[in-house]
């Protein structure tokens, strides 16, 4: 069952930007696109563990600040020809409030 946790207001995250949510299992990066969709991913690039939350967001992708891996926000997949996948977590916006559901498997890993 999905357990939703309120993590803040949408406006707390800059458009085309990201904020970090701390969890015992590691940081989760929550992204906001230009059209106010939100996505949550482990804040670790599959390449060398770079903090994706610090990257430049474009459309529904983020570029890792360390070595320019581009990651799909929706799936966590690296854009070809790069390979790798970052764990995603369900996230949604309701009435300007951002909700996150931490997938334990990911948070532990």
């Amino acid at each position: 069952m999905t357990q939703w946790i309120e993590i803040g207001a949408l406006t707390d995250i800059p458009r085309l930007g990201s904020r970090v949510v701390r969890t015992p299992g590691g940081n989760i990066a929550v992204f906001r696109t230009e059209s106010d969709e939100v996505f949550a991913l482990d804040d670790r690039c599959p390449h060398k563990g770079g903090p994706l939350s610090q990257g430049i967001v474009h459309n529904k992708r983020v570029t890792c600040p360390l070595h320019n891996f581009v990651i799909e926000l929706a799936s966590g997949q690296a854009v070809a020809p790069d390979e790798g996948c970052t764990h995603t977590h369900p996230a949604k916006v309701e009435n300007g409030v951002v909700w996150l559901s931490v997938r334990q498997a990911a948070a532990v890993s």
Binding site: V21, P24, Q54, I56, H67, P81, A107
Partner: protein, 819 residues
């Protein structure tokens, strides 16, 4: 996805490289727009025709050179009708007609029928054993002949003829090459290089008969020999005609499409019938026909754009380069090298080493290059040729190549062919030659961009780009697809940096979305390459007016510190001119202890670096440093970094001027300014040059009578001494010139283009004219810099440490304690 019935029908005639490359590019741009049918006469998928020579030579197999297997067509819902020939195009009904009489309708038609080998109209040309060299079928026949027969004659001493001859020789035949002229490959080589080539092929056992005109091919049931114009005869069991290719446009011509030497197409690759496109060797564009692969790929891209109804690209023609695919022979030629009254030549000839280089210049630019024996610099010359670089400032050393100019990167390697597979090519990403070769062969890569994407080689610092291009040329054995002449800013647009900068000014564009809209960006929000570039251009163009877009800043400039591999940051406080005080040092020591900063290091630019600071600690670290009177050192910025100085006349017994004071003055005036790439200055108090000013972006060398101003140096990826700009008498003049120079660079440089690259591109004389000679312009530049500085000189650390700017950036959104 659209229903198959409602989709438009695209029919492609020709299953070769040009046609399929167009289809591939179209699928990338508009995967579901068309229902695609491909007709190909040959019974194969699409293969790499330029690699037929290595197949003939036994260095590759047919499977190695397959680009698209039959599965690929299925996977992409393309109907491949191989082995079927189209005999007629009915433009009235928009149908093509197959050999068997079937009519297939089209909405859009793409003709990519390539070319045919020219078969000389000689008596005996139809005898068994007389063949062209164009497809797998020809290669099969040659291989078979090499097992059954001894003597081969190849007619034609051009690229194709020599490759065929080499292949047959490798398969054990006695090969004689017959050439009409007295220079081999006369379209690519001058007589000297042609002679060197002939000599080295003769050493391998190839026999030449040239100049010689073939008069007849002899034989009854099968070829037995060749007779020449002078009456002599040669025995032959196999005759390969490789005198050239002829665009194959019969079908188009029959359909009433306008043809000259090929199917005439517009800049969007359309024929005179707008529904019919043509690409590849069968077309004639701006009076040119092409027989190499690079132009075909350029055309394919443009054609695909148009078919995808994204009509922003036009084809402007290509400059081509050639490399002979004969293993062990290094030969490169590009551009136009025919002698002419307005051309100049630089020639280097070393017969013992077997090296010959000839560079042809016109109007201070490279227009052609012929290299034999040492071709490592081929791509480098070709790049300058395509870019139209003014090379006058490097003319003296031009012929010795990039490495000699300090432009060859740090690896110091030269010949790719001689490298082992384990040799590291890309030092940044640890990619060795073998990995690149493997990726090129297995993933069917053709372009530098492909290799960058798949292997990461040359994708970081770029200093190995020349080597990677060499590996490409070496692996593909031939002409690979070179970058277009005008480089687009990034993959999100076809416009160049210059275009973008110009349009921002002309159209008064003042936001990133406005630029993207006006210039028809292909992506929604751009990417990590173009957004920072646009942000800089807008900032530099509209100081005080443009609102800096934090989300378009690379993280370092967004948080005013340098991100490290573990996600922590480094902090470098400013020390004006490299001068510090006991109390500043004490404050730095206190900060380091208070925040458990693991590493404290002195930098090359005479600053102190605090490494390993956690992001959330940054504002507090800054607050403490601010309290001690220190501000951001901008060690993270594409902007003014450091001014390195020596102690000068204040202390040094050799010092001629107050170099430290001047350095501090420059830094206080210029700090905070954003520039296309980082800018580092140095001021030395005498020609002993202890501040190493002559490898900086701008360097001052003080002399007794004043100040020498140098610029465009580098000591990183490339090592390059500065260029002398001018000498002035006073500190004030010195400041004015340096500031004006920097402002010109701010206004014209491309994002991430260091000052020395900008100088290379624009030309030293141009810059000197506008900064030194034209005093009014200098003062205007100086004033514009000063105007922009009033908005730039706010300490970003203080804003964030005490005024709460970007508070969100440094704090987590939430902290969760999960069960």
């Amino acid at each position: 996805m659209l229903d198959k019935v409602t989709k438009q029908k695209l029919v492609v005639i020709g299953n070769g490289m040009a046609g399929i490359r167009t289809v591939e590019a179209l699928l990338e741009r508009a995967p579901d727009l068309y229902d695609i049918t491909v007709f190909g006469s040959e019974p194969y998928g699409n293969y790499n025709r330029i690699l037929l020579s290595p197949v003939l030579a036994g260095e590759k197999t047919v499977d190695d050179i397959m680009l698209n297997t039959v599965d690929w067509y299925e996977d992409n819902n393309i109907t491949l009708r191989k082995g079927e020939t189209i005999t007629m195009i009915d433009r009235r009904t928009c149908e093509v007609v197959t050999e068997a009489g079937e009519r297939v309708p089209y909405d859009r038609l793409l003709i990519a029928t390539g070319s045919n080998p020219i078969m000389l109209p000689l008596p005996g040309k139809d005898l068994p054993g007389v063949i062209g060299f164009r497809d797998i079928y020809d290669v099969d026949r040659m291989i078979k002949a090499s097992t059954d027969y001894r003597n081969a004659v190849v007619i034609g001493g051009g690229l194709l003829g020599l490759e065929a001859a080499n292949g047959l020789m490798k398969r054990g035949m006695n090969v004689t090459v017959v050439h009409l002229l007295d220079t081999l490959m006369e379209r690519q080589l001058d007589p000297v290089a042609g002679g060197l080539l002939r000599k080295s092929l003769e050493e391998r056992g190839m026999v030449f008969k040239m100049p010689a005109q073939t008069q007849a091919i002899l034989g009854e049931d099968r070829v037995t020999g060749v007779r020449f114009g002078d009456g002599t005869e040669l025995p032959a069991d196999l005759v390969v005609m490789a005198v050239g290719i002829r665009p194959n446009f019969e079908l188009a011509k029959k359909a009433g499409l306008y043809c000259e030497r090929g199917i005439v197409v517009s800049d969007t690759m359309q024929t005179y019938d707008g529904r019919i496109y043509a690409v590849g060797e069968c077309v004639q564009h701006r009076r040119q026909t092409y027989g190499l692969v690079a132009p075909l790929f350029d055309q394919a891209k443009v054609c695909a754009n148009h078919l995808a109804m994204k009509g922003f690209a036009t084809y402007d023609g290509s400059v081509t380069s050639t490399k002979l695919k004969v293993t062990g022979i290094d030969l490169f030629s590009a551009g136009d090298f025919a002698p002419g009254p307005d051309k100049e030549e630089i020639v280097l000839q070393d017969a013992n080493r077997g090296v010959y280089k000839r560079i042809i210049l016109k109007d201070k630019k490279i227009v052609g290059a012929v290299l034999y024996g040492d071709t490592i610099d081929g791509p480098w010359y070709f790049q300058h040729l395509r870019d139209g670089t003014d090379v006058s400032h490097m003319r003296e050393r031009l012929v010795f190549g990039a490495a000699n100019l300090g432009d060859g990167g740090v690896s110091g390697q030269s010949s790719v062919a001689a490298m082992s597979d384990e040799t590291e090519i890309c030092g940044c990403n640890g990619v060795c030659k073998g990995a690149i070769v493997k990726a090129i062969s297995e993933k069917k890569l053709f372009t530098l961009d492909d290799v960058r994407a798949h292997t990461k080689a040359s994708s970081s610092c770029g200093s190995c780009t020349g080597l990677v291009e060499q590996v490409l040329a070496f692996t593909l054995g031939g002409d690979y697809s070179a970058a277009p002449k005008v480089k687009p800013l990034c993959k999100c647009t076809d416009h160049s940096h210059d275009d973008v900068r110009r349009v921002i000014v002309e159209q008064q564009l003042k936001t990133i979305p406005a630029v993207m809209r006006f210039m028809e960006w292909k992506t929604l929000n751009g990417c990590h390459s173009c957004r920072p570039a646009l942000n800089y251009y807008l900032l530099a163009t509209w100081p005080g007016e443009y609102r800096d877009d934090q989300q378009s800043r690379f993280i370092n400039e967004r948080v005013h510190a340098n991100i490290q591999k573990d996600g922590t940051y480094s902090v470098v406080p400013r020390m004006w001119g490299g001068v510090t005080t006991p109390s500043e040092l004490r404050a730095i020591a206190d900060v380091a202890e208070k925040f458990n900063i693991p590493t404290v290091k002195v930098t090359g630019g005479q600053r102190i670096d605090l490494l390993g600071v956690k992001k959330e600690d940054l504002p507090a670290v800054w607050a403490d440093l601010n309290d001690a009177g220190m501000v951001s050192g901008h060690a993270y910025a594409k902007g003014l970094r450091t001014v390195k100085t020596c102690v000068g006349s204040e202390w040094c017994r050799f010092g001629t001027q107050d170099s430290t004071g001047l350095g501090v003055k420059l830094e206080k005036f210029m700090w905070g300014s954003w520039t296309p790439a980082k800018v580092k200055l140095g001021v030395s108090g005498c020609p002993r040059n202890c501040a190493e000013a002559t490898c900086k972006d701008v360097g001052v060398v003080c002399v007794d009578s004043g100040y020498e101003i140098h610029f465009a140096g580098a000591a990183g990826l490339h090592i390059k001494g500065t260029e002398f700009l001018t000498k002035v008498e006073t500190e004030d003049e010195c400041l004015e010139v340096i500031v004006a120079l920097t402002q010109l660079y701010r206004e014209e440089g491309w994002y991430l283009e260091r000052m020395y690259k900008w100088c290379d591109r624009v030309g030293l004389e141009q810059i000197r004219k506008r900064v030194v000679d034209d005093v009014a312009n200098r003062k205007a530049l100086f004033a514009r810099f000063g105007y922009s500085q009033q908005f730039a000189q706010t300490d970003p650390w203080a804003e964030r440490a005490s005024r709460g700017v970007d508070r969100n950036e440094f704090a987590p959104l939430a902290e969760l304690e999960l069960a």
